[in-house]
């Protein structure tokens, strides 16, 4: 046990931190893109025929991106990633594909959360002469908050899964450790430890998500 910790402790802790880092940064940008995109999806599809073209365009773009598995997206985006962040390697290099992978997914989750908001409440606010942007923030997002939190929780768990492939571009992380040491060099105990860490992580995140979501419900 002590020997294992001595041999692998730093590697695993560093990998865990790398995973955390990748997840936090890409989650931040994914929410920044995904939430407004979700709002746009809902607004363009619930406002009659006026903006339906926008919905159709967004729909096709999102479906296209979501058709590509992350491992393929990662490589397909290499030139694009290099153009944006200057490198396609390391944590920096993996953030771009992670965001592009997660944001549309999150947008879909946000869309379904926001669609649950009672149209009548939105109408009541329109009738009171309240600005559209205020309605989006104070009515739609607020009322959907509980469901949005659950959506983000799902997206985070998906992100953690995707970061496992980040090792392929040298970004490290738990998945990379499990694959490189556990599988390639056949040291199963390393693989089991990372699996246990991942299980604990996911359980923790889901529980946290459930608690926060319940709190946001307020009824």
């Amino acid at each position: 046990m002590t020997a294992f910790i001595e041999r692998w402790g730093t590697t695993i802790i560093e990998a865990t931190l790398a995973t955390f880092q990748m997840v936090t940064i890409s989650l931040f940008f994914s929410i920044l893109i995904g939430l407004p995109l979700g709002v746009l999806l809902v607004i363009s599809r619930t406002n009659g025929k006026r903006y339906i073209w926008l919905y159709r365009v967004l729909n096709i773009v999102i479906n296209t991106i979501r058709s590509v598995p992350f491992i393929i997206l990662l490589f397909a985006l290499l030139p694009f990633t290099r153009a944006i962040v200057g490198t396609s390697m390391g944590v920096r290099g993996v953030i771009v594909p992670l965001v592009i992978f997660t944001a549309p997914y999150l947008a879909r989750l946000m869309e379904s959360s926001l669609l649950e908001v009672d149209q009548g409440v939105i109408e009541a606010y329109q009738a009171m002469g309240i600005k559209p942007l205020h309605i989006i923030w104070h009515v739609m997002i607020r009322e959907a908050k509980s469901s949005i939190i659950l959506g983000i929780t799902i997206a985070v768990i998906g992100l953690i899964g995707a970061t496992a492939m980040a090792g392929l571009v040298g970004a490290g992380g738990l998945g990379d450790v499990a694959y490189r040491f556990g599988h390639v060099r056949y040291q199963p105990e390393v693989m089991y430890v990372t699996i246990v860490i991942l299980i604990i992580l996911i359980q923790g995140i889901q529980t946290l998500g459930n608690v926060l979501s319940q709190k946001a419900k307020k009824d």
Partner: protein, 342 residues
């Protein structure tokens, strides 16, 4: 105050067009409660939503206080809407806000100052009788209480007009009466003009001054509530009035009784409801009276009664009785059976 002029609304649904409103015009005077009644699908919901342009007319004008909403800019329309309150069948409160916040946040978003918000929330929660529920979430309230919060929310913007879209349709009869009482109070004490739509004659009867009856996107009859009760012209109106006065008498009874004298539908309005006309005629003339059904209801500021009675006696005596009743201001209509409808 509210003037809807030649409003037509066509909904394009795929291939077929649906004409929800067909050249509808109506005027609501300042300070009155105007009711629109109709069965579902008559277009009344679309109509009330014209008054704040939640629904845009395909053609026609919506004039509120000499402003034509149809020609206003988005910004001006938003400002105008702040002067028009609206309540709904589904209450439309935010689940995640307390009663206080439900009223306060829209005020804040329309630029009302913080201390003014406090005063108003307190004032209007008092008016609707929910001062003790400030920090409660809507899900902990009953339907009637939720509607009260929605009313307080609408009033807190101190509007000149209140639109009510089936506000009592989701409530039980007792609660409905309490909400109607509250609307009446708002109308009388705050001088707010109310345009409401409903499918219940009861609502019209309790609080409305004037009423329009809608069917298939058209107004088929409109006027003071009393007139509609005493002389409904259209078949649909008659059905609505009858919903308040169920006076179905079995046909064979009518046939039997008519052999010995006429069966009359007597309508009493105002002071006529208080005089014992039937007992007077049975003392004065050689007749016997037999009441088959009857009811007196309270209109907004008048009483209104309907009686179906059999007058047994000779033609001469019954004619005299009818004349006497007519003299007393009672509206007399003889019940005749034709083709099964009477």
């Amino acid at each position: 105050m509210i003037e809807l002029k030649h409003i037509t609304k066509v909904f394009k649904t795929g291939k077929s067009d649906v004409k929800a409103l067909d050249d509808v015009s109506l005027t609501v005077e300042k300070g009155e409660i105007f009711g629109v009644i109709g069965y579902s699908g008559a277009g009344k919901s679309t109509l009330v939503r014209m008054a704040n342009l939640l629904e845009e007319p395909t053609s026609g004008d919506v004039i509120i206080d000499s402003d034509n909403l149809v020609t206003l800019s988005k910004e001006a329309l938003r400002k105008k809407r702040q002067r028009i309150g609206m309540i709904f069948q589904g209450f439309n409160l935010l689940k995640t806000l307390t009663v206080y916040q439900n009223i306060a946040i829209p005020l804040k978003l329309t630029g009302v100052a913080e201390n003014e918000i406090k005063t108003r929330v307190k004032k209007y929660l008092e008016i609707v009788g929910l001062s003790d529920k400030t920090d409660v979430y809507p899900n902990q309230l009953s339907g009637g209480q939720k509607q009260r919060v929605a009313i307080a929310r609408a009033l807190s913007h101190e509007p000149d007009i209140l639109l009510s879209d089936e506000a009592t349709s989701a409530l039980d009869p007792d609660t409905t009466d309490q909400i109607l009482e509250l609307l009446l109070k708002i109308n009388r004490e705050l001088g707010i003009t109310i345009l409401l739509i409903t499918h219940e004659m009861h609502v019209i009867q309790r609080i409305c001054d004037r009423v329009a009856v809608m069917e298939n996107g058209k107004i088929i009859e409109q006027g003071p509530v009393v007139d509609l009760y005493t002389e409904p012209k259209h078949q649909t109106t008659r059905r609505f009035v009858e919903s308040i006065f169920p006076s179905q008498t079995p046909k064979h009874i009518i046939k039997d009784l008519q052999k010995e004298g006429p069966i009359l539908d007597l309508t009493f309005v105002g002071s006529a409801t208080e005089s014992p006309s039937l007992s007077v005629i049975s003392n004065r003339y050689q007749i016997e009276t037999n009441i088959l059904s009857g009811n007196i209801v309270e209109l907004k500021d008048q009483t209104f009664g309907k009686l179906r009675a059999h007058i047994k006696g000779s033609v001469q005596e019954t004619t005299k009785s009818i004349d006497y009743l007519t003299d007393q201001g009672v509206i007399v209509r003889e019940v005749v059976i034709h083709d099964g409808i009477y």
